[in-house]
Symmetry: C2
Subunit: 368 residues, 2 copies
Amino acid sequence: MPADIASTSGKQSITAFAAADPVFVCVISYTATSEIPGITVAGANPDLIKYTSPADAEFLYYGKCMCVEGVPATPDGKPTPALITRTALLKGEIPSFVVDAGALVKPSVPFFSFGLDSGRNILTHAAMEKSAVKRALELGEITGKQLARLSDLVVIGESIPGGTTTALAVLTALGVDAKFKVSSSMPENPHSLKNRVVEAALARSDSMSQNAGSSLEAVALLGDPMIPSVAGIARGALSAGCRVMLAGGTQMTAVMLLLKLLDTRLRGLCIGTTKYVMDDRTSDLAGLAKAVSPETPVLTCDLHLEDSVKPGLRSFNQGFVKEGVGAGGASLAAMLKSDKITGRNLMAAIEKEYESCIESRMGQIKSG
Amino acid sequence: MPADIASTSGKQSITAFAAADPVFVCVISYTATSEIPGITVAGANPDLIKYTSPADAEFLYYGKCMCVEGVPATPDGKPTPALITRTALLKGEIPSFVVDAGALVKPSVPFFSFGLDSGRNILTHAAMEKSAVKRALELGEITGKQLARLSDLVVIGESIPGGTTTALAVLTALGVDAKFKVSSSMPENPHSLKNRVVEAALARSDSMSQNAGSSLEAVALLGDPMIPSVAGIARGALSAGCRVMLAGGTQMTAVMLLLKLLDTRLRGLCIGTTKYVMDDRTSDLAGLAKAVSPETPVLTCDLHLEDSVKPGLRSFNQGFVKEGVGAGGASLAAMLKSDKITGRNLMAAIEKEYESCIESRMGQIKSG
């Protein structure tokens, strides 16, 4: 059994997800909620937020971004988590597909389209039409069913800036106490800002709908297009008897809640993430997952990034980035597929990829 | 060995394509060349042509069309070939994906987007930019590589009205004598019209380019977005060591020619189609395939539709429709996957699907 994997439900729940043919799906999306100042650092400045998720999708396939100039890292070298995802998929020889669930800018990669608009700012508008929520679920289900026939584990990650705030809103509307529990890509988690946004959004949606407590209505009023899209893919794959890993942090508990409220059979489902989210003191993934579905295991991988020679990678253990683009789930899938892949040799591969995709280009830009 | 499969290269070439995990890809597209009166009957009237390929994609998943009212059949009951494709995929439990390569109307199904515009009318314009040809090849390759990791046979079909004319133009420009050899969905194959269109298009393109004999240039000037998209997917899958079946009639020889001129290793490639195209006296698939790549087998399936109780299905043996939406390739894949699937029991399943998806609704419309 892989040494660098832990689970909230014991060792058996880890071996239960061993997979010979995992497939990785990255759902990219957008919510205008991310434009509220202070909500996200994904995207160094507000005009760049809309490029974050397509740039992540491009990075997965090409090791560089096509839709924006420059390197997907902060000026001091903290990289996009897509670096981890890309490395894990390459090392694990895991096929990957991108799903566009309303990204504002489309990536220069082949992507599944669900024909969805981007999500509106929940502070001021309903996130999307209820018909869009249904469409995301339906087209997601078709996609999940097709993938289930080709694979024994469908791993679904996401890239949507501002997504923890919409997840918090959906969880809260549907009765889960999630305040101060959702995570952030920053060490200083802006809980009070998120809570204020969500309270205002809930007040607005209560006045708009008699039925804000129903799951589809709550997602339409307060969520984002990623949530029903990931839920749809998961539902389709689970219904075809395939196992599913929701690859992400606290946002995935909102997806899991939607699945549960749609009466999806959750056997075969897990959440997969990094140790850095699980150990985060500013959020409570384990508590949220337990509140939503106590029998669903949360698997975490230890990539030993605290021992990395690269300060940009060590920062993942210091509260920065921590997860995203399914980094934890892709790493878990690689380890679950091959005994030869461990947290430590994956870290070494990530460092090499960091040198070739991030450091070398940062140098070019500085000297260029 | 399946009794209802024949090959131009002997029995061994049939068993060489036996597959446990085939996957089906349907590439939908559009060329304004189809708007030339008399070129196509796909779409009963000119305004409907643009709905043909998205409606086919919807029919594959839902057994009905969403983007147009009515039943995808001629008034006297000749159905879309997607009926055969759908039945074969269901019976063979074969997963399927739709790729949008410039369809003018987008289907209400999940589809891979390659971000391509539809093709222009080659009589009056270059079909597309050379950069679009390159993009189709590149994004196709990525897609083919991902599918190759999940499957042992990638079957690629197409739906593009007017596609035999653009195929004829590309074949001719690249030195293959294809006049009077491309097929048609009508028993009266409008060869002289197609030849006139192609001669005029070639004269126009010769005046536009010094380099119309290069393969990418010929596709850009005279082809359609389907050709490089299918070629790209095939190239990606072949390069990853997976076998590939080009599922269609004479159009696929243009794809094969492009692959060959791009120095693709064609080992593991075949064309797969119906007996009805192969036996068609108004075209010459075997001759075209031999001229392009003599070592590539053409596999054909016999669905015994001449014995069907449904006149609409018997018409496939009388020169109508004959093939399309990868009908022959999907049928072959089902038979190659399971010994239990034969041409005759597939025909019986097609008749049942014809009753539930076509006949019952035609009755509703008449009585409604």
